[in-house]
Structure formats: structure tokens, C-alpha cells
């Protein structure tokens, strides 16, 4: 018995016996290399299914099938508003991640009242020194505005097409939570540059929190890090804006769209 490893399936020999182009050889070599390690052949079936899924026929909608387009075509673009919210959200996420490389959530550096802080200066730096930084900030701000607008209009289209009705109440409620969180996203982002309006918007926020009965002071401390604004406020707004809200909102959007998938779109009739 030889010590040499028995290789019943000598794939390399098989490869050599084929008459293959360079590309084919490279492809198969990679495939074999990966398959030896990860056994991707086991997942081939899944891949195949995915391939056929991508070549699926999307069923005609009720309106298309029964040729009601002449009555309803003007509603149709409004059905893309939910997707447009997601699109704007994605653009905001990407540009926001890039802004995050340069922004620093700190109120340090102000000697006297009204002096620029580190946060303020970092935004100035983004706008003046960073390559493409001005455009980046512009994109981030505008995509946020587009997202809010799209969400609001999406809500109106759901309302005026009666799409919130009976089996879809859960998604309506979820949508209310989503629009609230979207606005909170905007609010926390507005505070971050720590300019005059940021500061006084946050000031109104603290006053509102404090006015809440029973939990007021607790809420003010949790959200704003105290009763007067400062470093703690800025960091909390920052963590909300770049850490907590992105996870929560992304998860809820996935759930929201998942429910639409399961329930099917409510079509006009």
C-alpha cells in the first residue's frame, strides 16, 4: 500500500485533458479550489434556484391584467414612493458614513460663549478643506430632506388609496413609528454641527422632555444627558444618529417591506 494519497477523482488531470480556453481554465481552477475547501457544490442547488428566481415572470398586477390602466395610471408613480424613501435612506447612509470620517462630536475648544467648538470646526473643515466635502455634506442634507418628503408623501398615498385597511393595520402602525423615527433622525442630525439653530433646537427638545409628567427629568437625562446642553448632549445625539437609529430604522424598514411582501400590495380596483 502506498503512502501517497489516493485521489479517485483527479480533477486536475481531468482539467488538463480538456481542451479549454484560459478563462475557462481559470474559472474551473478557482471553482475546484473553493469547492475543496468550502464544498460549494452543496449550495449549487440554492444558486440554481436563485438563477431561476431572477428569470421569473413578475405577475401582472390586477390593474394590468384587467386593463384598468386607463383609470389608474396616475396612481402608479405614487406606488414607488416607499422605495424612493429607501433609496434616499441609502444615499444618506453612504454619504453619512463618509462624513463620519471627518466629523468630531465634541464641544471642546470654545474659550468664550459663542466661540466655535470642535464639532462646528470639523463641519467647517469638511466644507472648506476636505476634497468633495462640500458636495458630500450637501448630498447628505438633501438626501435626508428627500427621504422625509418621500416618507410623508408615501404615507399620503397609502391614506388616499385606502391601503391601510383591514389586514394592513400593523403596517400602518409600523409606518407611524417609522415616520417618527425618520423625523428623530433629522432632529438628531440637525443638532450635530452645534451651530446656533442646532443648539436652540436641542434646547426646545430638553424643555419638551422636561415638561413630560412623571418621566420628564429621567427622559431629559437619558436623551440629552442632563438639563443644560453640553458635551453630554452632543454625544448622545451623535450616538442616536449614527448608531442606534440606523440599526433600529433599518430593521423596521426590513420588517415593513417584509410585511408588504407577505400581504401583497393593496391594489386599486
Amino acid at each position: 500500500m502506498s503512502l501517497k494519497k489516493q485521489d479517485e477523482m483527479d480533477h486536475n488531470a481531468w482539467l488538463k485533458s480538456q481542451d479549454l480556453t484560459v478563462i475557462e481554465t481559470a474559472f474551473l481552477t478557482t471553482l475546484i479550489w473553493l469547492d475543496k475547501r468550502l464544498r460549494i457544490v452543496d449550495y449549487l442547488e440554492l444558486l440554481e434556484t436563485m438563477y431561476y428566481r431572477a428569470n421569473l415572470q413578475m405577475p401582472k398586477s390586477h390593474t394590468e391584467q384587467y386593463d384598468l390602466d386607463n383609470k389608474f395610471w396616475y396612481w402608479y408613480p405614487l406606488y414607488s414612493l416607499g422605495s424612493l424613501s429607501i433609496l434616499a435612506y441609502l444615499v444618506a447612509a453612504v454619504s453619512g458614513a463618509l462624513l463620519g470620517f471627518y466629523y468630531s462630536p465634541s464641544t471642546a475648544g470654545a474659550v468664550a460663549q459663542g466661540d466655535p467648538t470642535a464639532a462646528y470646526d470639523s463641519v467647517i473643515e469638511i466644507m472648506q478643506d476636505v476634497q468633495f466635502g462640500f458636495m458630500l455634506r450637501s448630498i447628505h442634507r438633501w438626501s435626508a430632506q428627500f427621504m422625509v418628503a418621500a416618507v410623508f408623501l408615501h404615507m399620503l398615498r397609502v391614506y388616499f388609496t385606502g391601503s391601510y385597511k383591514e389586514p394592513r393595520e400593523v403596517n400602518w402602525i409600523l409606518g407611524i413609528v417609522l415616520i417618527g423615527l425618520t423625523l428623530l433622525f433629522g432632529f438628531t442630525g440637525y443638532v450635530l454641527p452645534w451651530k446656533q439653530l442646532s443648539f436652540w433646537a436641542a434646547q426646545i427638545g430638553v424643555e419638551m422632555a422636561l415638561a413630560t409628567p412623571l418621566v420628564g427629568e429621567w427622559a431629559a437625562q437619558l436623551l440629552f444627558g442632563g438639563f443644560t446642553l453640553g458635551q453630554a448632549t452632543l454625544v448622545r445625539m451623535y450616538i442616536l444618529h449614527v448608531f442606534i437609529l440606523p440599526f433600529v430604522v433599518t430593521a423596521l424598514i426590513a420588517l415593513h417591506v417584509g410585511i408588504v411582501w407577505v400581504q401583497g400590495i393593496a391594489e386599486p380596483h
Binding site: 413578475m58 424612493l84 433609496l87 455634506r137 399620503l156 393595520e169 451651530k195
Partner: protein
């Protein structure tokens, strides 16, 4: 067929016969491949499903009962239905749907980039806790919320309490938010049924239009010091304009509905003229 090895070969002569029969697909005797049965029959220890269900109590039993009802309902509906399965009438995902979606997406992203390039964002003074700015404003999408906080002139003062307000003005604004979100959340529980078009439900459409106008007028209230209208008049407008918009919407939709009915009636009378 590849099941030669599994074909029962108690008498070797029948093996080929079996193959011939299965190939034709006309086997009236159902046969397994010859292996053991796929499921293990329950022994005395294993409760059957019925027994399991009966042993259950309380909530899990209710769950079972409801599931069974609902499954039966499904089956009944399916049995009663005249629906015929058809091939999907549709458009291919690739390229039709994909290209359309890509076009819409690129258009929208393009518009966003264009607007970002044309209208650069404003940047203000650094924060100064010592100086309250003349105009405190959030972004436009929070104007309505800011307007709700400016409702303090109509925060009721209770005469019995010697003119004291029951709530602080801030709390009053917060409660207003709660009321608005609450009303929006209640909508699907109040309005049910299969109507979808605004003409079908003029009241709800009117309510929606009133809500939209209200969100705008509240936004104007938020910038009241920039609006050249007296506060009293402005407050009245904030509440009257939405009502007015609602009434107009209601009237328009009702009229449209009458119009549809008129068309239907006219067609009916043309076919069957009244004597």
C-alpha cells in the same frame, strides 16, 4: 429508472415486468422503493396528534382549535371557489422589471445629486447659549411639530382654578402631538371595508385633505413672527382653513360621485327610456 437494485426480486422474473410498468407510469399498485417506510409508526408511548391535542389545556388548546377552524375555513373556501389556476401572465424580471426599476432609481438619485449640487446647504453661526436667536426654527419637516408647540394662546385657562392653566404650555404642546399621532393610528380601526378610491369615501378623503392642510397651517404658525397677520386671525386660519379644505373636498367628491351616477343612469335610460 435507476431503481433496479431496489426492485423487489423475490422472484427474479418479475423485476423486468415492474420496470416496464413503472416506466409507463401506469402502475396501479403503489410501490415504495423497497426501503423501510419513511415514517416510524407511533408506538404506545408516542401520543398521536389527536391525543396530543386532547391533552393540551388552556391557551395551547384554544390555539389548536382556532388553527383547525381556520384551516377548515381555507379548505371550504377553496372547495367553493371557481378559481382556475392559470399560467402567470407577466413581464420577465430581466430585463423588463429590472430596467424599469433601475431607470426609476437612477432618475431619483440623479435628481438628488443635481439638487445637492445646485442648492448648497446653509451654515450658520456657532452655538451660543448666551444669545437667543431671533428666529428659532427646525428643518421644514418639523415646522408642523414646532407649530403645535405654539398653540399656547389657546391653552384653556380654568376659571375655577383662578385663571391657572391645567397644563403647562409645553405639556399642552406635547399632548397635542400625542393626540395627532393617536388619531392617525386609529384610522385603520375606524375605517374598514374594501373601498379604495377617494370618491368611494368622500368623508375620509376630506379628513385626509384637512389633515394635510392642517400640517401646512401649523407650519405657518411656527413662523408666525414672519407672517404679516395678527396672531388672533392666524390662529383662526390655522384651524379654519383645514375645515374649509375638507368641506370643499367633500363637496367635490360628492359631485363627482353624482356625476358617475348620472352617467350610469343616462346609459340606463337610453337603453330603457322611461314611459
Amino acid at each position: 429508472m435507476t431503481d433496479d437494485t431496489h426492485t423487489p426480486t423475490d422472484s427474479s422474473g418479475t423485476a423486468t415486468e415492474y420496470r416496464a410498468m413503472t416506466d409507463g407510469g401506469t402502475d396501479d399498485q403503489a410501490r415504495t422503493d423497497g426501503g423501510p417506510p419513511a415514517t416510524v409508526p407511533p408506538d404506545d408511548e408516542t401520543p398521536t396528534w389527536t391525543e396530543r391535542k386532547e391533552r393540551r389545556q388552556g391557551l395551547s388548546q384554544l390555539t389548536y382549535q382556532y388553527f383547525e377552524r381556520s384551516r377548515r375555513e381555507d379548505e371550504d373556501l377553496r372547495a367553493a371557489s371557481t378559481y382556475v389556476e392559470r399560467d402567470v401572465l407577466g413581464f420577465p424580471t430581466w430585463p423588463h422589471e429590472t430596467i424599469r426599476n433601475l431607470a426609476i432609481s437612477s432618475f431619483f438619485v440623479g435628481i438628488m445629486l443635481l439638487v445637492s449640487a445646485l442648492l448648497p446647504p446653509h451654515f450658520g453661526e456657532p452655538a451660543n447659549p448666551g444669545v437667543t436667536p431671533a428666529i428659532i426654527l427646525p428643518d421644514w419637516y418639523l415646522y408642523w411639530s414646532f407649530g403645535l408647540l405654539h398653540l399656547d394662546p389657546i391653552n384653556p385657562e380654568i376659571a375655577v382654578l383662578g385663571g391657572d392653566k391645567v397644563m403647562s404650555d409645553e405639556l399642552y404642546g406635547l399632548v397635542a402631538h400625542g393626540v395627532i399621532f393617536g388619531i392617525i393610528g386609529l384610522v385603520p380601526f375606524l375605517n374598514k371595508g374594501s373601498a379604495r378610491r377617494p370618491v368611494e369615501e368622500p368623508f375620509w378623503a376630506a379628513l385626509g385633505v384637512a389633515g394635510v392642510i392642517f400640517s401646512v397651517t401649523l407650519g405657518v404658525l411656527a413662523i408666525q413672527n414672519l407672517v404679516p397677520i395678527g396672531l388672533d386671525l392666524l390662529l383662526n386660519l390655522v384651524f379654519l382653513l383645514p375645515v374649509l379644505g375638507g368641506i370643499v373636498t367633500y363637496a367635490v367628491l360628492k359631485t363627482m360621485r353624482e356625476g358617475y351616477m348620472y352617467d350610469l343612469n343616462r346609459r340606463y335610460y337610453m337603453l330603457r327610456p322611461p314611459k
